[in-house]
Amino acid sequence: MTATAASAGAVPRASGSITRQNLRTFLSDRFGVLFTAIFLGFIVMAILAPWIAPHDPNAGSLLRRLQPPAWLPGGSWAYPLGCDSLGRDILSRIIWGARVSIFIGVVVVLIAGAIGTFLGLVAGFLGGIADTAISRMVDVLLAYPLLIFAIGLMGMMGPGLMNIIVALVCFEWVITCRLVRAQTLDVRNKEYVEAAQAIGLSPLRIMFSEILPNIVSAVIVVATLRVGTIIIIEASLSFLGIGVQPPTPAWGTMIADGRVFMLAAWWVSSFPGIAIFLLVLSANLAGQSLRDAFDPRLTR
């Protein structure tokens, strides 16, 4: 953390903006940059899937049924990671599957983050009945195991991409809400909030333009860390067969499909498993190094 010490010492007059200092701290953390790059790589891969996937993810042929990866006997470089039980190219399905995983992870965190931030600000700043209502709702939702809650909701709504997003948002906002409420309670008692009231700013303006800028970095960091968790939960739902439905390629369903052949053809389940592992690991480590660089309590 040499960069942190340096930035805490002298505040350079010309380039003293907080964001630029944070960026410098972030870039000096090699490990963090590496995993952020891997994470960004997954995103690029997902966006470019139609162009970079070697085969149609849904085109199968029983001639290639359970064909092993290229480096094993019987494999071919045309299908580098082998094929599944329907003879579909595993690499292409992983590339397409990244779309679903990342899309769900990012969209859920964005929507839930927005809802949670708003409710957390309201609860923390206004207090009273609003706080009681929101906080009790949070307490109740936190008492449910996340997966069971999602399975229940999916059971009611039926499978489908939109329904997964709705089900996960229904729970995920709680995480942001709790964080924002706690941070707001802390910031609300600062003198500059009192000063803002003395200046005649409306409660809405105080919440969004005085308090929010002071807590937004914490929200961003937690949101990044949550993307990984959401991806895992989506994969779990798909694995259980109540998430993304075939033929849409999703990592969770791929693992489920392959588990019957685990002993005979380990690659069918293992490669999507490794993909989930790498994506979630890189998302988490990227989030952590973002926190190290942007958390005001660590930098200022």
Binding site: R13, E191, E194, A195, A198, I199, G200, S209, E210, P213
Partner: protein
């Protein structure tokens, strides 16, 4: 709309602020009567905890629940305590401004100085410019002008700076700029110099005096340092345990204090003009606001106390207009 040119701009009658606590009721402000005249500078002095700040926060409707405020506060003829929250908010910042003791705490660390000034302008500007997001280019010019007027060099560039890039004195100046950007008619400066170095203190006080002349506004200068108030104010109100104990022209109160507390305060403060004088600390300490003595609040520390002091003491006005809360005849002489 105006209550007349000659009437007080701020008129306070029987202001009382109390906070219920688990150990009993704390009466932080106990019956304040006060007038602030147009273009006047009124000094308010007293020890920490004497209720100086709470008095003025109460007037602005900024006492948090469970605190309760009662009495009557008229600003330019309008009743502040009976006003709706929205109406009061319109008034704060535009006609009634307040600056706080520690600018480091009172400026938002995550917002640039410029956006903090612009926010005030946006909140009080004409209806069209009251946007929650975005800013009006005309108001940027006004912000730069204001920063220049409070003595911040290269104001246009420093608009983008954050509070931590300003020095202590500069922060205080920036906070004054924020308070004055809407040309208020009354500025309440809450201990503007307490957090500053002595050399910077004088600059900030001069700045407030200069802005008062230029804008023709009234100033309430809250301080615990008699010297600060003596030099810059027309009148002085001395507060003790939630009450005003003495009120009169600044010079008269300093030269010939009549209330024993004011006398003690002056005797215990060092004056550069008379270094040979012996300092006499006041015995005792400020009473606990929960179980306040029923009579004169200062009685337990007063060298002149008598049995008569155990009954409530009212403010009395002397022939020369000075007001003292003391039963001794020589106090009102």
């Amino acid at each position: 709309m105006s209550a007349g040119r000659d009437g007080p701009i701020l008129s306070v009658r029987g202001l009382r602020t109390e906070f219920p606590t688990t150990r009993g009721r704390v009466v932080a402000v106990d019956g304040i009567d006060l007038d602030v005249m147009p273009a006047e500078c009124l000094g308010v002095v007293g020890e920490s905890g004497s209720g100086k700040s709470v008095t003025f926060l109460s007037m602005l409707g900024m006492v948090r629940l469970p605190g309760r405020v009662s009495g009557e506060v008229r600003f330019d003829g309008r009743d502040l305590l009976g006003m709706g929250a929205r109406e009061l908010r319109e008034l704060r910042g535009r006609e009634l401004a307040i600056t706080f003791q520690d600018a480091q705490m009172a400026l938002n660390p995550s917002l640039s100085i410029g956006s903090q000034i612009l926010e005030t302008l946006a909140a009080h500007g004409p209806a069209g410019s009251r946007r929650l997001f975005g800013r009006d280019p005309g108001q940027v010019g006004r912000a730069i002008e204001m920063l220049t007027r409070v003595g911040i060099p290269a104001a246009a560039e420093r608009l983008r700076d954050y509070p931590h890039q300003f020095s202590g004195g500069m922060r205080q100046r920036a906070m004054i700029a924020i308070a004055l950007v809407c040309n208020p008619r009354l500025l309440i400066a809450d201990e503007p110099t307490s957090a500053l170095d002595v050399t910077v203190q004088a600059q900030v006080l001069d700045l407030i005096a200069k802005m008062r002349r230029e804008l023709g506004m009234s100033v309430v200068l809250i301080a615990h340092d008699l010297g600060v108030v003596a030099e810059h104010c027309d009148r002085i109100a001395v507060m003790y345990a939630g009450q005003i104990v003495e009120l009169g022209p600044a010079e008269a109160v300093i030269e010939a204090p009549r209330h024993p507390y004011t006398q003690g305060l002056i005797a215990s403060a060092p004056w550069l003009s008379d270094l040979t004088r012996e300092l006499r600390p006041m015995p005792g300490s400020v009473p606990n606001l929960i179980d306040m003595p029923e009579g004169c609040h200062f009685a337990p520390r007063c060298p002149f106390r008598s049995d008569a002091c155990l009954r409530p003491v009212a403010m009395r006005t002397a022939a020369d207009g000075r007001q003292v809360r003391c039963i001794r005849p020589e106090a009102v002489a």
